[in-house]
């Protein structure tokens, strides 16, 4: 049973998060260890295992990157490992510029405006990649899936930039 089936959902990228969430809650209401607090240790163990599996599945499906990765995996396309370098030189150059943009925030005269602008830039660019990604997934063939996997790798770079941006924001507020 794959994770989509576990929640009674179609294996589609654009799933309804509310539906996922309510299926998740219905399942946890059945298997959660709290339902087995006065059961035998065997049932308790089984419940912990099932509950953990459902948590894992929910966590994976609710985030776009891991959900996309999982769909590609179900289609037989694995993402190249992180160590393997991305060949797209233009993209890597852009990434370096974006890193510099984040690094410059704390020196900006208007820090709030710089934070806001940086967030906007990351959002617009990653949104663009997501659209391409969804488009590619609509037709399940090997070539498309490989392209989609490549896009997902790029989106992981944006995810890292997002984390970096939040770290910068935290540091600015904590001072």
């Amino acid at each position: 049973m794959n994770y989509f089936e576990l929640f009674g959902l179609e294996a589609e990228f654009s799933l309804d998060l509310n539906e996922l969430s309510s299926a998740y809650q219905a399942l946890q209401k059945t298997v959660h260890p709290d339902r087995f607090a006065h059961s035998s240790s065997q049932e308790q163990l089984l419940s912990v295992q099932k509950s953990a599996e459902i948590n894992d599945a929910f966590n994976l499906l609710k985030q776009p990157i891991t959900r996309g990765e999982y769909i590609l995996k179900l289609r037989g396309t694995e993402l190249a490992s992180e160590q393997q370098t991305l060949q797209d030189v233009d993209f890597l150059m852009e990434q370096m510029e974006l890193h510099e943009m984040l690094g410059d925030i704390k020196h900006a005269s208007d820090v709030d405006a710089a934070l806001f602008a940086a967030q906007e830039t990351l959002d617009v660019q990653s949104q663009h990649l997501w659209q391409q990604f969804e488009q590619l997934l609509t037709d399940d063939n090997q070539q498309n899936n490989h392209k989609a996997a490549e896009l997902l790798r790029k989106l992981k770079f944006y995810k890292k930039l997002q984390i970096e941006l939040e770290r910068i924001e935290d540091a600015l507020f904590d001072d």
């Binding site: 309510s22 946890q28 709290d34």
Partner: protein, 621 residues
């Protein structure tokens, strides 16, 4: 002792049998016990009609005193009177002395397992907590009129693994079954949420005597889903006291080091002044100095506010981070619940209300709300509310990881992951022919090992010699519903599997606990044996009852005739064996039933998942 009664399969669970259970708020300053009586959760009173038990234990020559009776010795006999033991539990000596340099106790034991040297010998923090728990359990047993099925004990959401494990050890030592360790803010949310049938995102701001927690939860149809939690397990009302103590010392021209009696006196006066200032604009302070002279001073609220403002700001920074972790914004939060005695301070209330842009909720007594929530959860866990919708989905507060080359931490489970959770990660060898691997388990958010909390170290041995990087070591982290971690490691490439469980580097190991249990009993051997026998018999009764109920419910659908008769045979055996007093045989009979019903249990779980989904889709249409 009387034999336990066991019903026939199928007629096992008596429908309206009420199982006794209680919720315990094991606080830094005060502890409480509550229970659900005729549908209502309320705190239980002691013989003096008090529900609050000061978390103070005094080791006197003629006995161990707990609570109010111990409090009187706090000033006169500070070395033997342990106050705020929650700040010490599950911590190393270095941790304790750096954070609380002026504690009046004589520490002994080793770095990892600090104890306190009292006139009744070496006492460790787990034992002190066990005394408080025993007192509360005894109160509940007499108030409810029977032995408890178990208790829910609350812990700060931000407690790490060692602190949680130590709290559970204290319960073991006190001889009470822990149904669940429940996070304090979650307990408070339950107390409020069930009351108001609220739906939406709520924030729980919990500032107690020694800890600060912030939790962001989403409430939907009885499900309390914790989205994020944060805080500081060493920030609370005690720090307000300390800030006030420093101020008073300066005012009274006193300088440290002071005698431990003097330290306690100043602290008590500071604490009293703080409480007065919650209701009055100024408070008077009286000190009897070492030379016999009296010092009288006053402090007004503005001065006090100035002393604590930075501490409150620190809590609001944690709030901001948790709101972000939860993926919501301040405007999404529809309710803010205040918990803990320190939220009585007017400046705390006003700053929090201002930050969240809404009046904070204080309608349930902030001292009692956690115990009440725990009692509601205990009632459900004991099985008294089979149709209840209540479900708590909690998270781990701090990331868990492993040490890798170069003193770096590789995260295996990140903070705010919903529990229970199991995650595995693969590692490999660094050198050719390496046959052992040191596994170092850490908790915390930082990248360097030295900045994280060391939880455990163990070694995986017997790896077949291979070239560097060829071995596949699979390390599995499991966190149960109590938030407790177990780690195992296994070498899998060669097909040779060896695995090992974690030994805690802090707190106590199993042998310590058994030894202390023995020490605490007068007729050690017989009592231990009797207790172990009783535990096995209870488990046997539970297995017998559960399997019987399972057969009655699903036996005809999910079992073949052969399977059914095999199960029945093992149950017969269990029933006969459990009436003897042979612990090992009972244990074996339970194992046998477990083994023979394993497939049945799985089938039932899968069937219930299908039913849940089916019911769910019907709801959707």
């Amino acid at each position: 002792m009387a034999l336990l009664q066991i019903a026939e399969p199928g007629q096992s669970t008596v429908p309206h049998q009420h199982r006794l259970a209680a919720g315990i708020d094991l606080g830094t300053t005060n502890s409480l016990v509550a229970s659900v009586k005729s549908g209502l959760a309320e705190t239980l009173l002691d013989t003096d009609e008090q529900d609050i038990l000061p978390s103070i234990v005094s080791y006197q020559a003629d006995g161990v005193l707990v609570g109010q009776r111990a409090k009187q010795f706090a000033i006169t006999d500070p070395e033997n009177t342990i106050v705020s033991v929650k700040r010490l539990i599950g911590r190393s000596l270095a941790d304790i002395t750096s954070k609380y340099p002026t504690l009046p106790y004589k520490f002994c034991g080793d770095q990892q397992h600090p104890s306190l040297d009292t006139r009744r010998g070496e006492i460790n923090p787990v034992q002190v907590s066990a005394e408080i728990l025993s007192t509360l359990v005894a109160r509940a047993t007499s108030a409810l009129g029977g032995e408890l099925e178990g208790v829910v004990i609350t812990v700060p959401a931000y407690f790490d693994d060692a602190q949680r494990q130590s709290t559970k050890d204290a319960a073991t030592l006190a001889g009470v079954t822990v149904l669940r360790l429940l996070n304090e803010p979650t307990a408070a949310a339950v107390a409020y949420g069930l009351d108001s049938k609220q739906e939406g995102v709520i924030a729980v701001y919990d500032l107690g005597g020694g800890t600060f927690d912030i939790s962001i939860l989403r409430l939907t149809q009885g499900v309390f889903e914790v989205l994020a939690t944060g805080g500081d397990s060493a920030l609370g009302g005690d720090d307000f006291d300390n800030a006030l103590v420093a101020h008073l010392l300066a005012q009274a021209n006193l300088s440290r080091p002071l005698s431990s009696t003097m330290e306690r006196q100043v602290l008590n006066q500071a604490c009293a002044a703080k409480e007065t200032l919650s209701a009055a604009p100024s408070a008077t302070v009286n000190l009897t100095l070492e030379d016999g002279n009296e010092y009288v001073g006053t402090i007004n609220r503005t001065t006090f506010d100035g002393l604590i403002k930075a501490l409150i700001a620190k809590t609001l920074r944690s709030c901001r981070r948790s709101i972000k972790d939860a993926g919501v914004s301040v405007s999404d939060i529809c309710e803010v619940v205040m918990v803990g005695g320190s939220t009585r301070i007017p400046l705390v209330r006003s700053e929090v209300s201002q930050y969240f842009n809404r009046q904070a909720l204080t309608s349930i007594d902030p001292d009692k709300v956690v115990a009440i929530g725990a009692a509601i959860q205990a009632d459900v866990l004991a099985g008294n509310k089979p149709d209840s919708d209540l479900l708590l989905l909690d998270v781990i507060p701090l990331s868990l990881g492993l040490e890798t080359m170069g003193g770096l931490v590789e995260k295996v489970i990140s903070r705010n992951t919903t529990i229970p959770v199991a995650k595995a990660q693969e590692f490999t060898t660094f050198k050719d022919g390496q046959t052992a691997m040191a596994i170092h388990v850490l908790q915390g958010e930082r990248e360097l090992v030295d900045d994280c909390r060391s939880l455990a170290r163990f070694e995986l041995r017997g790896i077949p010699p291979m070239t560097a990087g060829a071995a596949h070591i699979r390390v599995t982290f499991k966190v149960d519903a109590d938030g407790l971690l177990s780690v195992s490691a296994m070498e899998k490439s060669s097909g040779v599997e060896s695995s090992i469980e974690v030994k805690p580097s802090f707190g106590l190991d199993e042998d310590d606990i058994i030894k202390m249990l023995k020490d605490s009993m007068t007729n050690a051997k017989e009592d231990m044996a009797a207790r172990m026998l009783k535990e096995q018999q209870v488990e046997a009764a539970r297995v017998y009852e559960n399997v019987g109920a399972a057969i009655a419910a699903d036996g005809d659908k999910l079992l073949t005739t052969d399977e059914l008769s095999a199960i029945n045979e093992s149950l017969e055996n269990l029933l006969t064996t459990s009436q003897t007093s042979e612990i090992a045989k009972i244990e074996k009979a339970i194992e046998q039933v477990d083994k023979i019903t394993a497939a049945f249990a799985e089938r039932r779980m899968d069937a219930s998942i299908r039913t849940a989904l089916a019911g769910h889709s019907v709801d959707e249409v």
